[in-house]
């Protein structure tokens, strides 16, 4: 899978335009995928948000949570809008991720940690530049490359306890690094977990925030396997489908991750080798690991001397936020349940009212009451939709971020681990030097050479690890800022979406009342 991507059209221009003097020499040009120090897209361009969800109503009847549909295996398709392959347009209505090619200057921070498709294990460039933190300059987004991903058509494969769900992952893109412009593959849940495993293995240790996939759920999946076709299993499948889609969006919004060949493979390759070691690495498993690692880090006796409080403060913020979001998530969950109650009660009331209307002698009153029953029925539907909005817009957003914040915490821990490694190397070096001194004194020339060699070796390591540490510091800083921006935008997008849906609901409600009023007045 070593494919050299075609050079970007203006790579020469880009280098010419770079404002900052290249602090490194031609090192970067050696790397195939290193497009002259440019990013594929502007993560945080002035005019582009990394993740732009289409303004089209995410919860139109087609793509929405099938609140009022009869649950059945067939209708799992219906719940996803019965998208036929002719309908590729609609497929991506909710899946647009806008990326733009940055043709302007390089950012202040050099992107030295770039994944290279030519090397299966990532070797990071050592950089002689000083790792000062600078704000990325305003990018002019010129060419926009599109990348739309949708996860649809959940299908059950197999029978009984060996059954599993398969999802269609469709990509539409103008990015040259892909083999074609539109393609789709079938993936199962463990494939997504496998992708996460690979990505976190490679990137987490460098301080990148790797998005977490949704959690495994034994209960949820068992119901689906067993073939229980009730609303809760349709709910579960839809919830998972949406979460997987969001997961992929987040992955490809991350500049570095997008360039990882595993991501490309995931989207493009027809058959993926079955990911087997995903037992421990579901979202929840990973979180457990993070927590264990955190605990280990906390137990480290040598505390870091922080030259500035930024990292400590940020970590504290992150931990607080994670807690808060958990609390909020619980509150939203309660809200969702109450709304479901209201749905149920409204439906039952509507039925009673209909019966009352039928038994009523007075014609006009009878008609009004029957109308009323219909209005209530419609309102029940509104409530139902609203409940799913509450859920999918808010509850899932909060849940996603609780997971993501776990990933952020992990970054910080990785940084400390890196520091620790550097410290350990330094003390090893020190010991080697002591050995050398002893040998010098004891005058044992043959062992001396070995000692000298070891010293050289460890000096190199110390230098390397120090650079690693500085690099990860810069990466973590940058990642945290990127994350914060993305989070703000994400929440903003969601609250707007939520408000839009509220408004639509409300306006429909007004119409119902307006229609009913003359009926009520007509009673005599």
């Amino acid at each position: 899978m070593e494919r050299k991507p075609p050079p970007f059209p203006d790579s020469e221009e880009q280098e010419a335009h770079s404002e900052k003097a290249e602090e490194e020499s031609g090192d970067d040009d050696d790397d195939d995928d290193d497009d002259g120090g440019e990013d594929i897209f502007t993560g945080n361009g002035a005019r582009t948000a990394p993740l732009v969800l289409n303004a089209q109503d995410l919860f139109s009847e087609e793509g929405s949570y099938p609140g009022v549909q009869e649950p059945s295996v067939d209708n799992q398709h219906a719940s996803n809008g019965l998208r036929s392959d002719d309908d590729e347009q609609d497929l991506f209505a909710e899946a647009r991720v806008e990326l733009s090619l940055d043709r302007s200057s390089t950012k202040g921070i050099r992107e030295v940690t770039r994944s290279s498709p030519s090397a299966p294990d990532i070797s990071y460039k050592s950089s002689t530049s000083k790792m000062s933190f600078e704000k990325p300059e305003e990018e002019e987004s010129n060419d926009k490359f599109e990348l739309n991903i949708a996860v649809t058509h959940p299908e059950k494969v197999g029978d009984g306890m060996n059954a599993y769900m398969v999802y269609k992952v469709s990509t539409q893109t103008t990015l040259p690094m892909f083999k074609s412009r539109a393609f789709s593959v079938r993936r199962r849940f463990s494939d997504f977990l496998g992708l996460f495993e690979k990505l976190s293995e490679k990137h987490a240790q460098n301080g990148y925030i790797v998005p977490l996939p949704p959690e495994k759920s034994v209960v949820g999946m068992t119901k689906v396997k067993v073939g229980k076709e009730d609303t809760s299993s349709t709910e579960f499948v839809e919830k998972r489908r949406a979460a997987l889609e969001r997961y992929l969006h987040r992955v490809v919004s991350h500049q570095n991750l997008l360039q990882d060949p595993d991501v490309r493979e995931f989207l493009e390759k027809d058959e993926l080798p079955r990911a087997v070691s995903t037992q421990t690495l579901s979202g929840a498993g990973f979180l457990k690991m993070i927590n264990k690692a955190s605990d280990a880090v906390n137990k480290m006796t040598i505390k870091m001397n922080e030259s500035d409080n930024w990292f400590e403060e940020k970590l504290q913020e992150v931990e607080n936020e994670e807690q808060q979001l958990r609390k909020l998530h619980a509150v939203v969950d309660a809200l969702v349940n109450h709304r479901k109650d209201l749905c149920g009660n409204t439906a039952v009331f509507a039925k009673s009212m209909a019966m009352l209307g039928n038994s009523e002698d007075n014609t006009a009153l009878s008609r009004a009451l029957s109308q009323l029953a219909e209005v209530e029925d419609k309102m029940e539907q509104l409530h139902q939709e609203q409940a799913s909005n509450d859920f999918f817009i808010f509850a899932e957003l909060l849940a996603d971020y609780v997971r993501l914040l776990g990933g952020v915490r992990n970054c910080f821990d990785q940084r400390i681990k890196t520091w620790q490694r550097w410290q350990d190397a330094q003390s090893t070096l020190q010991k080697k030097r002591e050995v050398e001194a002893k040998l010098l004194w004891a005058n044992k020339p043959d062992k001396l050479q070995q000692a000298k060699d070891e010293i050289t070796e460890w000096e190199a390591k110390v230098t390397q690890y120090e650079r690693d540490f500085e690099r990860i510091c810069a990466t973590v800083r940058k990642e945290v800022l990127r994350f914060e921006k993305e989070k703000s935008n994400d929440f903003k997008v969601h609250i707007i979406k939520y408000l839009e849906s509220l408004l639509v609901s409300q306006q429909r409600l007004i119409k119902y009342w307006e229609a009913f009023l003359p009926e009520a007045k007509a009673i005599s």
């Binding site: 005019r47 909020l328 209201l342 009331f349 038994s359 703000s488 408000l499």
Partner: protein
């Protein structure tokens, strides 16, 4: 029986000096354990205002006084239903028992709904062609002394039809199609209305819970933002906006529930109780019918010497029954007219109020949406 009382505020020779539509039960205050209701009304003659304070026992006294067992015709009257007693716990909390007993009347701020129900009751009595002539009403509305002190004669309002041995009389076949129909309809409708009212109550309770939950969410978010000294100002702004949105959502549920209670809730509740009152009346008549038929049988079977007495008894009963039936017929007609009018009023004001609330909330959502869209892009 319409609330606006536009017609027949004053009856010919009614004896009631008060304008029915002016009767208002303003508020209820808690005096130790007892609820005291303040009732105002206006004199027909000079519009002068009268204000009295009454307890529930006074209302009960009125209800008992309206029924005069020695006036057989009166048995054919459908008596305006008096709501059950409202027991207030010291913390003015509504407990489940009260909710079960009173339904919608237990809801609403400061017994507002309950006061309205009492008000309706008084107005219905005042508008009734016969009952309004009863001095007891005048006394209740105008006397300085609380009339409840006079222990009333034991009425026979107490759910005759509930008494087990009487129950079988309920299904006794009628001699008159009109009444048989009416009884059947009433039976059906009473059950349906009761169920519908209960289910509507469940809807309203769910709305109230949603209101509380939304408020909780709004406060939680706001608390968080206030505590956090986050450098991420943009995120804080968004959270604050979100908090405001949920505040509006809470308001929506709150108002919607309020509207539901004060219009349709109250209306359905009244319908339900009135249907029960009609049921009572019809049952009284059926009992009389059973009595009459028994007397007929006795007369036929009686030996010559007793026959005369039996016939007299039978004739008295027959007269009573006929008088009752003709009154009942009138009352039934009146009942249907007014219950339709009542429901119409409830439905129209319900719809109007909900429409107002919906429009107001939509405007608020629009405002929020604009504000959020104006938030700078990061």
């Amino acid at each position: 029986m319409n609330r606006s009382g536009k017609t027949a505020d004053t009856m010919e020779g009614s004896g009631l000096t008060i304008s029915a539509s002016s009767i208002k039960v303003n508020e209820a205050t808690l005096d130790e354990d007892t609820l005291v209701f303040s009732i105002t009304s206006q004199k027909l003659s000079n519009g002068m205002g009268v204000c009295v304070c009454r307890t529930y026992e006074d209302f009960e006294w009125l209800q008992q006084s309206l029924f005069a067992p020695d006036e057989p015709d009166l048995h054919g009257v459908i008596f305006p239903p008096l709501p059950a007693k409202l027991i207030m716990s010291p913390q003015s909390q509504i407990n489940n028992k009260t909710l079960k007993q009173l339904g919608f009347l237990a809801l609403g701020d400061c017994c507002r709904t309950y006061c309205e129900a009492l008000e309706l009751y008084l107005q219905q009595v005042a508008l009734h062609p016969i009952l309004s002539k009863n001095k007891a009403l005048e006394t209740l509305l105008t006397n300085t002394e609380s009339p409840g002190k006079q222990r009333a004669k034991k009425g026979i309002f107490n759910r005759l039809s509930q008494v087990m041995e009487e129950k079988r009389k309920e299904s006794h076949k009628d001699v008159d199609d009109f009444f048989q129909n009416e009884r059947d309809n009433n039976s059906n409708m009473t059950a349906l209305t009761k169920v519908t009212t209960e289910r509507f109550l469940d809807v309203v309770l769910a709305e109230q819970r949603l209101s509380v939950a939304s408020k909780h969410l709004s406060s939680s978010i706001q608390l968080w933002v206030n505590q956090e000294d986050s450098a991420n100002a943009a995120f804080s702004k968004i959270c604050l906006k979100t908090s405001k949105v949920f505040e509006t959502i809470k308001r929506n549920f709150e108002k919607t529930a309020e509207n539901n209670i004060s219009t349709l809730g109250l209306g359905l509740d009244l319908q339900s109780r009135y249907q029960e009152a009609e049921k009572e009346m019809l049952f009284r008549r059926t009992c009389k019918l059973v009595e009459l038929e028994a007397a007929n049988k006795n007369t036929e079977r009686a030996k010559a010497n007793k026959k005369g007495i039996m016939e007299e008894v039978r004739n008295v009963l027959e007269k009573q029954f006929d008088g009752m039936s003709s009154m009942a017929r009138q009352e039934v007609g009146r009942f249907h007219q007014s219950r339709v009018a009542l429901l119409r009023t409830a439905l129209v004001s319900w719809c109007e109020q909900q429409l107002n609330t919906a429009t107001e909330i939509a405007a608020l959502y629009s405002e929020h949406l604009e504000a959020c869209q104006k938030l700078p892009e990061e």
